[in-house]
């Protein structure tokens, strides 16, 4: 009981302090003589946000850029581009880059394609909003929660097929009669090989199984956005094509898809940026990047904080930043095209 009370007090204190600061600043501004009063009032409105942006985003980013050239536990030893050299040459670090590339390619492709497929198939079908809501539901829950849900699906316990509680493992062992070869119990999330095939370019099976989870989360977003765009395709366009003898398939690929192209690009770039920063899933399902499952954002956290290599962590953040910029550029250009009617 006392804990709940404390929670309310903390929340009230936080909101109260915020309110008091805003009101106090405005009151102070109002005490000033003209012409300072108006300028000060403007500063009360826009100042706090600008302080946060300059002090919380711009200056720290510049500082991180500087840190990436240093090494040591306090990042105070000049290292030049050493961190970046390590990033692109050391074999463990290359695994991180390789995983991130596969994450980005596979999740973006899969969730966009699934989104388009469902949006097309579900269009005007009976119960469409309910089916879409079910597919959309995973978007609401945390990636940590999603990680636990799928850890449970992938769970393996012992050798007895009848005692398996992980759905995937149970299906795998029960499928023995119809699958070739012998089905041994498999620890999916510890398998760093690509279907038994060891390669430095291909992702491990465990990474693929984590990718499934993000596709599961992102596909609903793609579906809802693309579906909304498809509803905006003018009827006469499709109708005219039909009259000219186009089949359904043709009118979909030649008219509907080109019409919603801009939306698809937006969905793909949005997904891409989200996937580049994937962190929670690797923390929850890969125990923070063990068994060769780490990604850029996960490694950035691990190196900067638990492993005390802030210089290297800063270099990873810089790489992330450099990777995001062109994607945002494409997206912004695409948005402008949409607004100007392409």
């Amino acid at each position: 009981m006392i804990e709940i009370f404390k929670t309310f007090v903390t929340v009230a204190l936080g909101l109260g302090a915020f309110l008091a600061v805003m009101v106090g600043l405005y009151w102070l501004a109002s005490q000033l003589p003209e012409p300072w009063r108006d300028r000060a009032r403007v500063m009360v409105f826009v100042g706090p946000a600008l302080v946060l942006l300059v002090g919380g985003l711009i200056l720290p980013s510049l500082y991180t850029g500087r840190l990436s050239l240093f090494t040591g536990p306090n990042a105070n030893k000049w290292y030049g581009f050493g961190n970046f050299r390590e990033l692109f040459t050391d074999s463990d670090n290359l695994i991180v880059l390789r995983n991130t590339v596969w994450w980005v390619i596979l999740v973006t492709l899969a969730s966009t394609v699934i989104g388009i497929t469902i949006a097309r198939l579900a269009d005007r079908m009976r119960g469409e909003p309910y089916a879409k809501a079910l597919i959309f539901l995973p978007t609401a829950i945390s990636m940590v929660g999603a990680g636990v849900i799928w850890n449970f699906v992938y769970a393996t316990k012992g050798n007895d097929p009848d005692k398996q509680y992980g759905l995937l493992t149970w299906l795998w062992l029960k499928a023995e009669p119809i699958l070739p070869g012998k089905q041994d119990p498999h620890y999916w999330l510890q398998d760093r090989e690509f279907f038994g095939f060891h390669s430095s370019f291909l992702p491990g099976l465990n990474t693929l199984f984590m990718i499934v989870v993000i596709v599961w989360i992102q596909a609903g977003f793609a579906t809802v956005v693309i579906s909304a765009a498809m509803k905006g395709v003018p009827d006469d366009l499709v109708e005219a094509a039909k009259i000219d003898g186009a089949t359904d398939r043709q009118s979909f690929f030649r008219i509907v898809l080109p019409y919603v192209k801009g939306t698809i690009i937006t969905v793909a770039t949005t997904t891409l940026i989200a996937v580049l920063k994937v962190f929670d899933i690797v923390q929850t399902m890969g125990k923070g990047g063990q068994f060769a499952t780490s990604t850029l954002a996960n490694d950035m956290y691990q190196r900067s904080f638990p492993l005390s290599q802030p210089g290297y962590g800063a270099a990873l953040a810089v790489i992330l930043f450099v990777a995001v910029v062109p994607i945002v550029y494409v997206n912004a250009k695409n948005q402008r095209n949409i607004r100007e009617g392409r």
Binding site: G14, Y165, L167, K231, M300
Partner: protein, 330 residues
Amino acid sequence: MASTISTPVDATVGAKGGAQGGVQGGVLAGVNGPNKPPDLTPRGSKIAKNLSSKKGSIIVWLIAALWTVPTFGLLVSSFRPETQIKTSGWWFFFSDPSVTLDNYRGVLDNKVGGQPFTEFFLNSIKITVPGAVIPIFLAAFAAYAFSWMKFWGRDWIFVGVVALMVVPLQMTLIPLLRFFNSDFFPDKANGIPAIWLAHSIFAMPLAIFLLKNFIGSLPSEVIEAARVDGASHMVIFMRIVLPLSVPALASIGIFQFLWVWNDLLVAKVFGGGAKNQPMTFAMVDMVGSKGNEWQLLTAGAFVTMIVPLIVFLSLQRFFVRGLLAGSVKG
């Protein structure tokens, strides 16, 4: 960057009426050969016949079922007795249904880092409410200034704010943590204000951008009229702009609320020890230390998900708008 607050998602609801034509049809495509006379039936029924074939809707429902099974399995398992969870799949629940709340009792008392899970639930509330309210209001103030106040370099500063959306929050973690741990920041002992501040910073560019789009498009006559009547900016903002902006504030606020509630990274970096951590932290810790105690993990995961699920089910329209508008955050 989905740039508008009122997205076309609402069309989903509107288009439903057209689908009443029927679900018959069977064949997906290719019935209208070139030699057939044009069929001029109204589009609604025709499209419904062609596209919404039975095959298509079966596939959609199969995918929907596939998407739901993992969550459903977790929910069912969280109510099964421990011995059953650990020895048989949840799909056997239906042949031998026995229900218990012990798992929930167990997980709420379960200690992570020396404190019970309930504490983490309360921490999530402590972090999330101000972590969502403060940035939204700060952004609303700034959006008002960018829309309706005149000051030097206004439009260029706004462009700069929007450009900051490019910065991944990873770029700021190390320096910000150093700042929060330094003597310049007054609250070293209690990490929760640091988390509020961090979330406020990261929310700012997108929230200002979206709210400026909304507040800037309010009818200027209303605001000019109030100016002529001698109302100050603060009065206009509080009495006119905020009430008119409720839909936008709600959408962005709900998105920010869920973003903070579901966040792991920001809390983990800035929250210090377990004392200030949200439930996501406790879950990850439990996965690491009690990875096979599924009676705790299933119930715990469901406790972390309950608030987002309620928001999703009850405020779906706002949720979708906010998500679409805010999906590039971070």
